[in-house]
């Protein structure tokens, strides 16, 4: 059974977004997503300093089975990327909501978070897919 923490916001394309206390937004992929992908072997992340709009392609996650695009759940400037994923992409499988984060944004409009799904709705959408 997948974990879906209640404090996060979710995109239908299986990214999560967390509003941090300093106003930045951390992004990763969900437990449901890492489970469906299988063992992750490579992650391509956006460039630090680049600006993304909500729904923009932000990188690629490659598992033993397939390549999947990842999309930015909200718009903003990329402040940091998780460099650990370069050498240890399996962290995405082991710990999708903390050590396996993908990138951090300075959001251009935090109200975009409201347009994302809450945990319950995201979980319901996943259950429908299964």
């Amino acid at each position: 059974m997948s974990q879906t923490p209640s404090e996060l916001r979710y995109a239908k394309s299986h990214e999560w977004a967390r509003l941090e206390e300093d106003g930045t937004v951390t992004v990763g992929i969900t437990d449901h997503a890492q489970h469906a992908l299988g063992d992750v072997v490579f992650v391509e992340l956006p460039e630090v300093g680049s600006t993304l709009a909500a729904g923009d392609e932000a990188g690629v996650v490659e598992s033993v089975k397939a390549a999947s695009d990842i999309y930015s759940p909200v718009g903003g400037e990329v402040l940091a990327i998780n460099e650990k994923l370069e050498d240890e992409p399996e962290t995405v499988n082991a710990d999708p909501y903390s050590d396996g984060w993908f990138f951090k944004l300075q959001p251009s409009d935090t109200s975009e978070l409201e347009e994302l799904l809450g945990a319950e709705d995201y979980q319901a959408a996943c259950d429908e897919d299964d």
Partner: protein, 369 residues
């Protein structure tokens, strides 16, 4: 269309397998351990694979060896009792209809294991091509593979007769009360065994094997990455009706006695086309590719030379968990096939650097006695 199931289907579900459709069967692609861990476990200890979807066929008849030799380029007249050989059903243009393992059970009886996706066509091909022979499809039998460096010790506990087998040898024996035919063969490059058993006995045998500490269940995902690391072909990827055994690097599978200067030269479909490739190397060949870095390449992507020109295509790709990175097989223009040649693969517009690499990617560990 409803998917077929193997006798181990309930066991796969109980073990938490993720099931996928494969060749018309509902099959486990992975268990909770995941593909990479399953791959590593097989190379380190022993993995149990359900390969019951594959076709098992008996061919009987006074002239069975000669009759089968009209369909494959193997030396079956010279094959010893309970010895096996890898061979190919060729077509009239020298392409491959399927690859298979043939075991001689007796003077006039051969046991064939063919690919699941090809088995209906193979059976029709046998029935049409083998006049005077009886073709019996063993639909009531399952097939399990136990593979890895720990496999022999496991067999020594459960079935001492099997633990005496050397690579490409088989025997009729028993596991507990179950009658089985066990061969020392497999699809991983490791020492290991394939166990043919009645459907009704398969689950009990699988449970006995899984009860051994060394043994874990392994799905089709790791089966594919293991065979790719071992440099072994998969029908529909490295082999098809348009590719000759010579292009596929399987010249070794054309028995000496069936070659142009052999005692029983030719006499199989497409011999002329295959002999032409033996005489004049074909334009393309199968090679192994190791990716420089971590970004995987995928089947169907173009292989490019140093000038960025398309020289071939990836036919299989996987994460080589024991090799230590993404690997692939490709058909490329022969002149670029030298070991160590730097090439690239077009991954959705990005040129990913790869190097032509000797196969197998990891050493084979077959037990030859």
């Amino acid at each position: 269309m409803d998917l077929l199931t193997t006798p181990l289907h309930d066991l796969h579900l109980e073990l938490g397998a993720k099931m996928v459709p494969f060749a018309g069967y509902d099959m486990p692609v992975q268990y909770p351990a995941g593909i990479i861990r399953e791959h590593q476990h097989t190379r380190e200890q022993a993995g149990l694979f359900d390969v019951s979807h594959m076709g098992q066929v008996l061919v009987r008849g006074a002239d069975a060896a000669a009759a089968l030799e009209r369909l494959v380029p193997a030396d079956l007249e010279g094959l010893g009792e309970h010895r096996q050989t890898y061979t190919l059903f060729t077509n009239e243009t020298g392409g491959v209809l399927d690859d298979l393992i043939v075991t001689r059970w007796s003077d006039d009886c051969f046991f064939l294991v063919v690919n699941a996706a090809c088995k209906a066509q193979d059976i029709a091909h046998l029935q049409a091509g083998l006049t005077g022979c009886e073709v019996e499809v063993l639909a009531e039998r399952a097939l399990l593979a136990l593979q890895g460096p720990g496999a022999r010790a496991v067999m020594a506990e459960l079935c001492p007769a099997a633990a005496e087998l050397v690579f490409l040898q088989g025997c009729h024996t028993r596991i507990g009360d179950s009658e089985v035919y066990i061969t020392c063969s497999g699809y991983t490059g490791e020492d290991g065994f394939e166990i043919s058993a009645a459907n009704a006995d398969a689950e009990a045998i699988a449970r006995r094997l899984l009860a051994c500490d060394a043994v874990e269940p392994i799905g089709l995902g790791a089966r594919d990455s293991l065979r790719l690391e071992a440099g072994l072909c998969l029908y529909g990827h490295e082999l098809n009706t348009e590719i000759t055994p010579v292009e596929a690097g399987l010249t070794w599978a054309i028995a000496k006695c069936r070659r142009p200067d052999g005692a029983r030269a030719g006499g199989f479909p497409g011999a002329d086309a295959i002999f032409a490739h033996l005489a004049t190397p074909p334009a393309h060949r199968r090679v192994g590719l190791a990716v420089d870095g971590k970004r995987p390449v995928r089947e169907g992507q173009a292989v490019l030379n140093a000038d960025g020109e398309r020289i071939g295509e990836v036919c299989s790709a996987a994460f080589g968990a024991s090799f230590g990175g993404p690997i692939a097989m490709a058909y490329i223009e022969r002149e670029f096939g030298g070991i160590g040649t730097a090439l690239s693969v077009d991954v959705r517009g990005k040129a990913v650097a790869v190097t032509v690499t000797k196969m197998p990617f990891v050493p084979q560990r077959y037990f030859r006695g």
